[in-house]
């Protein structure tokens, strides 16, 4: 058997009040894809950050090709041939796409050219790597112009650009659609065959089994074990991650809401230049409406217009009691709409504030300056949601920035649930949360909507995971090229045919 390229053993890392890693070990072999699995907060990202020099371990050794290494900075790791894509997109929004890809290693003009950056080469280079993933965008435009999914692909492209020994990807697919994932996988397989060692973190079991040769499972900051993917069944994997044999699968009572519910939110010709063609849409009480589409099909834009995050320049929105255009999210919130953004880092979490304050924020903002509840009530509310959504945190007073990615996502969901909205818009709510939590979330979504007494919430559910959309929704609206491409009732379509609709060539 070949020797591991990278070998971590006995890694310990603790933060004030939290033991994130205890005696963790991990081996990466050349020419293999290694999946790192674990529940939210298991310590995956922390391990990666230790490995790449972003955090210093409290104890433990890391060896590369048998030589001990101790990266102090990310550059050290890079120089050693370790390339990383971190969990949150960590690029500079103000720089162009091409610069983000090439920063640190710009192609230069020769000495004669003054050694300056060769911008033409930078752009060609950027286009080349992006082309590997079938992405054809203007590389000279600033990164901030693109959606999170594009940014994520740019981050991956950056890591792929330079050939390396070890490639680490922390949930790279969390906001990619299926096609993009497949393209990424093609690239990864090729790299693997070239002898690269790839460490891959994901919460999608399908992807794990499609790609990984070997799996390391982490639980509560410890290594649970290392397995060959072929030897580990899905069920066994989930059990190892969760730590106990699954309690009896909850019986999924599908109490369908009466379909005659009155529309609570209606969009009439709602559109915005450059973002969304006029859209008609209706959301009934107690209904889950799925929004499906490819990257850039305009789902996020539609959600933002419905919520007033962007102002529409045509059409209007009707809710019970009023009709018109939103000028700010405040108005939408007042009308009982909630919106959980896909970009939790920039549009969701207030990183330095505590989990409690983050959960409370929207509720408080709605009731204005007067405190909406006493400190004890706040605490109780936060604790309640922490328990209900299984948010892994030291306490409700921990800054949300110290939570793992998935747990942040849950806390943000709690923020909106706390406002008890009539309409809840969820943009990629399952992004970065683990298998178990995802199922719980989908159950929760359905439970929130489908109340027997007809008082359920109306939910607009956006996800790049088509199975999720189909599983959750009563109705699915497909967007293509920033306009509605069709609407389907539950059961009318299966995954394949929806995919066909989604990916159809635009009618001329």
């Amino acid at each position: 058997m070949t020797k591991p390229v990278l070998d971590l053993s006995g890694i310990h890392k603790s933060f004030p009040g939290v033991k994130a890693l205890t005696d963790v070990s991990l081996r990466l072999f050349p020419g293999e894809v290694h999946a790192l699995m674990g529940q939210n907060g298991a310590g995956k990202s922390t391990l990666i950050k230790v490995l790449t020099g972003l955090y210093q371990p409290d104890a433990g050794t890391i060896t590369l090709d048998g030589n001990p290494i101790a990266p102090k900075r990310t550059e050290d790791a890079q120089d050693l041939g370790i390339r990383t894509v971190y969990q949150e997109v960590n690029l500079c929004p103000n720089l162009s796409v091409a610069e983000n890809i090439c920063a640190g290693r710009f192609p230069r003009k020769s000495w004669l050219g003054g050694g300056r950056i060769d911008w033409t080469a930078v752009h060609t280079e950027a286009r080349r790597v992006l082309a590997q993933m079938d992405l054809d965008i203007d590389v000279a435009a600033p990164l901030s112009r693109y959606s999170l999914s594009v940014q994520q692909m740019v981050a991956i492209a950056r890591a792929l650009r330079i050939s390396a020994r070890v490639l680490i990807l922390d949930e790279p697919t969390s906001s990619l659609d299926d096609a993009a994932v497949q393209r990424l996988f093609t690239v990864l397989r090729r790299l693997r065959d070239q002898g690269l060692a790839i460490l891959f973190v994901t919460h999608f079991l399908d992807q794990t089994y499609a790609l990984a040769d070997r799996i390391t499972v982490m639980r509560n900051g410890e290594t649970e074990g290392e397995y060959l993917a072929a030897d580990l069944s899905r069920l066994a994997l989930v059990n190892k991650m969760v730590g106990a044999p699954p309690d009896q699968q909850p019986t999924r009572l599908d109490s369908r809401a009466p379909e005659t519910g009155a529309p609570v939110l209606k969009a009439v010709g709602l559109g915005r230049r450059g973002a969304l063609q006029p859209l008609d849409m209706e959301l009934k009480r107690g209904e889950v409406l799925g929004l499906a589409g490819l990257l850039g099909s305009g789902r996020t834009e539609a959600a933002r217009l419905l919520f007033g995050a962007d102002t529409a320049d045509e059409g209007h929105v009707e809710t019970e009691g009023r009709s018109g255009r939103w000028h700010s999210p405040r108005e939408a919130i007042a009308a009982g709409i909630a919106f959980c953004s896909e970009d939790r880092k920039h549009e969701g979490a207030i990183l330095d504030l505590s989990v409690r304050e983050n959960i409370l924020l929207a509720l408080q903002a709605r009731s204005g300056l007067r405190l909406c509840m006493s400190h004890e009530q706040q605490q109780a509310l936060a604790d309640d949601y922490i328990k209900r959504l299984g948010i892994k945190t030291a306490s409700a007073d921990t800054p949300i920035g110290q939570l793992s990615g998935g747990n942040q996502q849950k806390a943000l969901l709690a923020r909106w649930l706390a406002t008890e909205p009539a309409v809840l818009i969820l943009d990629e709510p399952t992004r970065g949360i683990d298998v178990r939590a995802k199922e719980d979330l989908m159950d929760a979504v359905r439970a929130l909507a489908h109340k027997e007494d007809g008082t359920g919430m109306s939910i607009l559910f956006i996800s790049s995971e088509l199975p999720e959309v189909l599983h959750c929704s009563d109705r699915v609206l497909v967007l293509r090229d920033r306009r509605a491409a069709g609407e389907y009732r539950r059961g009318e379509l299966d995954e394949r045919s929806v995919l066909e609709v989604i990916a159809a060539e635009p009618a001329a």
């Binding site: 990383t84 960590n90 500079c92 920063a103 640190g104 003054g114 300056r116 950056i117």
Partner: protein, 322 residues
């Protein structure tokens, strides 16, 4: 036109147009205003400010701020004067030494900011006290410089068309601006500065050398400040602890007026020029008017600043909307 409107440098263009408007207003109202020399005087009189603003642009683009520049300028004039007049050093050696000294002072501040993870504002504020204090330790009085090289540089006039002239200081400042543009847009160092300003955490995770860049940025700013100090010494032929009071604020204002965002990451080094010229133009307008009392001078400067920034802002808003 549409391309111009959509260019990210639109704000900078707005500045240029507004500046032209200011100039035409001056020319229409005051005799002698519309002469080449008045324009060139803007460069001659603000050469030192331009050099400082170029350095400041880099600091601000990197998401920091450097309040020590005015004091470093004063310290440079003082050290140079002392070395020339009292220690009788050769002028060339003095020039090299103060430039290195300025860069070292800046690097030290950058080092403290990086190593101790302190806020640039407070560190450079302390640096500002320190540099100014050191001036007074050397001498509280002003020291006249009569070294031939300095005198020559001070009084040389580089003739241009039509009897107008430029000073060597102004030429040096323009060269510095050119170099600044080159560093910002054609070197990896320059792009790392932008990255740092865009998101320091991301820059770190992208494996860019954040520490070295930060130290270098402040060293660059210190260097520019001491070069500006030399220009100032050429300009005034004296070393004095009170020189350059409040220059840091002028420089920051110039950079921000030029379209650079104070929180870092967005803007152009070239904006420093338009910012400096706007401030200089406002002053020139007031000097030509010559009827304003001290307090009206302040009010009018404030008002012109307001009009300028407001119009610039409104035009950019309109662009964003369209």
């Amino acid at each position: 036109m549409k391309r111009l409107l959509s260019a990210p440098s639109f704000t900078s263009w707005v500045s240029v147009v507004l500046m032209a408007v200011l100039f035409i207003a001056g020319a229409a109202n005051y005799t002698g205003f519309a002469s080449t020399q008045v324009v060139l005087n803007l460069l001659i009189d603000n050469a030192f400010l331009l050099v400082i603003a170029v350095g400041m642009s880099f600091v601000i683009l990197s998401g920091g701020i450097d309040l020590s520049v005015g004091s470093v300028l004063a310290l440079t004039t003082m050290v140079a004067a002392w070395l020339l007049q009292v220690a009788q050093w050769p002028a060339e050696a003095v020039i090299v030494l103060v430039l290195l000294g300025g860069a070292a002072f800046g690097a030290l501040q950058g080092g403290v900011i990086h190593v101790f993870k302190l806020q640039p504002f407070i560190v450079t504020l302390a640096g500002m006290f320190l540099a100014r204090g050191l001036c007074f330790l050397i001498s509280v009085d002003s020291v006249t410089i009569d070294a031939p090289l300095f005198v020559a540089l001070s009084q040389t006039q580089i003739p241009l068309l039509g009897g107008a002239f430029l000073s060597p200081g102004a030429v040096i400042a323009l060269v510095v601006l050119g170099l600044g543009l080159w560093i910002a847009h054609c070197t990896a160092f320059g792009r790392t500065i932008y990255a740092l300003g865009g998101s320091e955490a991301s820059a770190l995770m992208m494996g860019l050398n954040v520490g070295r860049t930060k130290v270098a940025v402040y060293a660059l700013s210190g260097f520019c400040a001491s070069l500006a100090g030399l220009l100032f010494a050429f300009y005034m032929l004296s070393g004095y602890g009170q020189h350059g009071q409040g220059v840091e604020l002028d420089a920051i204002a110039a950079v921000v007026i030029g379209g650079t965002v104070l929180t870092g990451g967005y803007g152009y080094v070239a904006g420093a020029l338009s910012g400096v010229l706007v401030l200089g133009l406002i002053q020139t307008l007031i000097a030509f008017d010559g009827t304003l009392s001290s307090w009206w001078t302040k009010i009018v400067i404030g008002a012109l600043l307001f009009v300028f920034c407001a119009v610039q802002r409104l035009l950019s808003l309109k662009k964003a909307a369209s």
